[in-house]
Symmetry: C2
Subunit: 569 residues, 2 copies
């Protein structure tokens, strides 16, 4: 029974030495990759670097217990870090208060995800359309890359949207630190070389493609080590290069976060948006990787897994986490077989907080900025604009609004604009449905639009196909359309409403149909329906409409025309 | 050209003596009916009584020029007066400031209606479903009736929602004034008798039904005259009966309202809601009466007409107005032939402000309260609850939320809840569409649900009919449904997606179809489409989907099955 909600109870039973070996191998690679990322994303979120490490310990354990994906690697990710910075930035908090607010955000986000999972509300995430998410991720990538320019150049930059960032960079451009610039440029060059050329070099040396891939993924840690060495050798800190500085050694204290209702109220909406965005990102990564292994992902279970991860983040002094794309791919490629790989990664990061933090103090922040820039530029994909422009203007508008809104105003407004636009466009479209007068395709029982196909029609009968469910937003539109047709054809005797595309008729539309029926009656015209679907018919039978209907309900349009035009009429 | 936007330029050209006579007759009757209503509704809105009269002068002229209905009588109405009181009540203004805010509300409302008319945005009103409007009107009627109990009993009552009103009535119940109670009860009894029994009496006296109707409609003015006489005879004012008091004699000063941006920002949302509700109320009255005359109403022109009426209200010291049901019916029954009847009514009311105001000073407010109670009880119709409960739970939820929200919290929250609920329910429904596996009805080319009809199916082929447009909210749902079917049938060779009910495929759904196509390919299953509609096909041709599709697109489901199961395969 419990196994239904706690997957570890299922897979844990069959855990073998072989699986252990695979999970451990994957955990080592992911740990190496995760250390610099955790530090970097914490700085992106405006938090002390150790919070990034903490967010890579307990949350991974939480997900390992409740999550269902065997490949997903959770932890701090770029977009959610930017959203955290944006949510907390508005509260003008400093130091410990800022950290507490980040912890509260993780708690709220975890609670929201858990509730959505328990009440099976995962479908809410479906309202974030693919194009909106694509536009949002691209815009976030651009904002994050811009925000890291300050770190690369050694100047201050502020803000979580493009105009503010660009202005603050421009204002401080004179104070570029040449040493920081050198470290930043060198790190960036090294990281780009690793990403674009290292694999080719390794292959030429005869390495297997899989192994070469893993080395490439772990490459950034070499850049980190190199820049720590350079920092120590040239005493870069005394030359004005910002370094990570003292990172507290040891594991995070476990604590139930203090409840501050005012703060919670302020963070509720951002927490909700972070939860939904994090969930959508995570589930699409999990599903893509699951398909490769022919596994299936249960979205509601994933909500529980991510909820547990975020609550664990709150308890272990972290901040909001979700599944990361790059590290999940690494985890998958390295052979992770069960969620236990995540738990082993957590142990790896915990060891790092115990043993490695003294060395991290000298790490130049410019190197971390370079890590972020290289990671997020992979997110930027403007082709979605062209794709949607060609396919559907409605989708294009939603993407463009998301992109521009996120870039110019910020992440929350941007994504809200996109979701609102896609819903409004959908409502607008369904409120003015496509309708077609249909006739029979010669020699068949099939009826199509008279404007698009060569078809036969019968005098005195108009067959109108309505291409939409009938509901409040289009009920009046239907009335107008029918009166228009009737006004144009004085010799009309029968109107057949062909309903294969009418998936529902709500109360407003029912009342409109009653009005149409009444008005046609006074004009001596009968109203018939054809191809009414089962669920719609069930409902109509519960009203008085069918008794009042002047005409009949036909199973098929063919039957309607045969009967109405037949000699027996 | 101009005639398109200014109907008076069309009908004014053919204006005849006969039409003039009919319009004048209607105007006299409507004027008699409108005088007590204008005073009463102004008091309901918390405004001095003369504002009600002013709102019945210029707005009628504005509508006569720009409106398109030949029957609609505009002016102050009960529901909009309640909404005005609710919008202004929140601002805690007194005296002249309160009146200025009411004028500003009319200006904003007029501006919103005009803009909606110019940009042809009348469809926005369609999102107010019939059941939501019915629930809202009923709840408003109940609130208004309760709010007038104070006036009938001579005690203070406050608030614009039921709990506050009931509490304040209960708190002041001890201070009932017996004279007020007597006047209120007598007025109420007289008005109810006029409404329920007078017509029968007049018919027995041999009057024509039409004439009897008009006398009944004008009856309330007799009650007003009677109570003024009683007030004078017994000096009721000195016995604690609240009377209308001095009403300034003369026409309103024309003025362009002062612009106060802070006030405008506060009133924008209420003005929008008032505009939409007023428009929906007005257009449904106008359309009902137009149908009786076989005329048609252009909703966008009505927006211009009502917009002009409200801007005229702002210029002529009035408050928000719209078309009233009862008085429009009277106008129609009395024979109004053109919108000029409204302009003549305006002259009638103007004469009243010049000549009759001295007599109104003695009018007991309890009589006006009784007028309102009798008028609004006609609005209360709880049957909508039962009707929607039987027909559709979704509609019932929307009505119930509107009703309870309006009664308990207030008009703006109530109607917003109803609109939000109906839209969310619609989105929820379309996000989990009905799908049916179909087979051929024996001896026909018609395909229906295998669960509802006796049909023939072909081994190795599954035909799935999706009963909804494919869009972001249900794209993932479709993927899951297809994988589920494929998992259950290992010997499957072809999946045919039957699309007669798919009215659109957006970018998200297109990507899902591409994913489905790819995954089925790896399983050796072909994906086919059938009965794809013209507009959907046009769009698919603009993407690369059709090239990647493993199967074919068939004109009809019959053709699909014949081809796929044929020996030539």
């Amino acid at each position: 029974m419990l196994g239904r909600y706690i997957p570890i109870l299922r897979w844990g039973r069959h855990y073998s030495t072989e699986t252990f070996g695979r999970d451990l191998m994957a955990a080592v690679i992911v740990t190496i990759m995760l250390i610099p990322q955790s530090l970097a994303y914490a700085l992106l979120a405006g938090l002390p670097p150790e919070i990034g490490l903490y967010a890579s310990i307990l949350p991974l354990v939480g997900y390992a217990i409740f999550g269902s994906s065997t490949s997903l690697a959770v932890g701090p990710v770029a977009v959610v870090s930017l959203m955290t910075a944006s949510a907390l930035g508005r509260l003008s908090l400093e130091g410990a208060d800022y950290v507490s607010a980040a912890i509260m955000l993780a708690l709220l986000s975890g609670g929201i995800l858990l509730l959505m999972g328990l009440f099976r509300l995962g479908f809410i995430a479906n309202f974030l359309s693919h194009p909106v998410i694509a536009g949002f991720i691209t815009a976030s990538g651009l904002i994050i890359a811009t925000s890291q320019l300050g770190g690369l150049l050694g100047i201050r930059s502020e803000g979580h949207a493009l105009p503010e960032l660009v202005l603050s960079l421009a204002a401080n451009i004179a104070s570029i630190n040449p040493y920081t610039l050198a470290v930043g440029a060198a790190s960036l060059a090294a990281l780009i070389w690793i990403r674009t050329s290292l694999k080719g070099q390794l292959s030429r040396l005869g390495l297997r493609s899989g192994l070469a891939n893993l080395i490439v993924r772990a490459g950034p840690v070499l850049v980190v080590l190199g820049s720590i060495a350079a920092s120590a050798a040239f005493d870069l800190s005394s030359r004005g290069v910002a370094v990570v500085g003292d990172v507290p050694q040891g594991l995070p204290l476990l604590a139930v976060p203090g409840i501050d209702l005012g703060l919670m109220a302020n963070l509720l909406v951002p927490a909700f948006i972070i939860s939904i965005v994090g969930f959508v990102e995570s589930i699409s990564v999990a599903q893509t990787l699951a398909a490769r292994k022919r596994e299936r992902i249960d979205p509601d279970q994933e909500l529980l897994g991510l909820g547990a991860a975020n609550i664990a983040a709150a308890i272990g002094s972290g901040y909001p986490v979700t599944g990361g794309f790059a590290r999940s791919v690494v985890n998958h490629d390295a052979g992770a077989a069960t969620p236990a790989a995540g738990a082993f990664t957590a142990i790896g990061i915990a060891l790092a907080t115990l043993l490695l933090t003294p060395f991290l103090a000298l790490l130049p922040k410019a190197t971390l900025a370079a890590t972020i820039v290289v990671a997020v530029l992979a997110l930027v994909d403007l082709s979605i604009l062209g794709k949607t422009w060609r396919y559907s203007r409605a989708d294009f508008i939603a993407v463009a609004l998301t992109l521009v809104g996120t870039l110019l105003v910020g992440v929350e407004i941007g994504i809200s604009l996109g979701v609102a636009a896609s819903i409004l466009i959908f409502l607008y479209r369904t409120s003015k449905p496509h309708m077609a007068i249909v006739g029979r395709v010669s020699g068949t029982e099939h009826f199509r639009n008279i404007k698009r196909h060569t078809v036969e029609t019968t005098p005195g009968i108009v067959s109108l196909r309505v291409d939409e469910s009938l509901y409040f937003a289009n009920a009046r539109f239907l009335e107008d359309a029918i009166y228009e047709i009737v006004a144009q054809q004085p010799e009309l005797r029968h109107v057949v409403l062909m309903c294969p595309a009418v998936n529902a008729i709500d109360m407003s539309a029912l009342e409109s149909l009653e009005t149409i029926n009444d008005r046609l009656l006074t004009l001596g015209v009968s109203l018939h329906l054809s191809e009414v679907k089962g669920p719609v018919m069930d409902r109509l039978k519960r009203s008085h409409f069918l008794e009042a209907l002047t005409g009949r309900v036909f199973l098929s349009q063919h039957e309607a025309i045969t009967t109405l035009s037949g000699p027996a009429r």
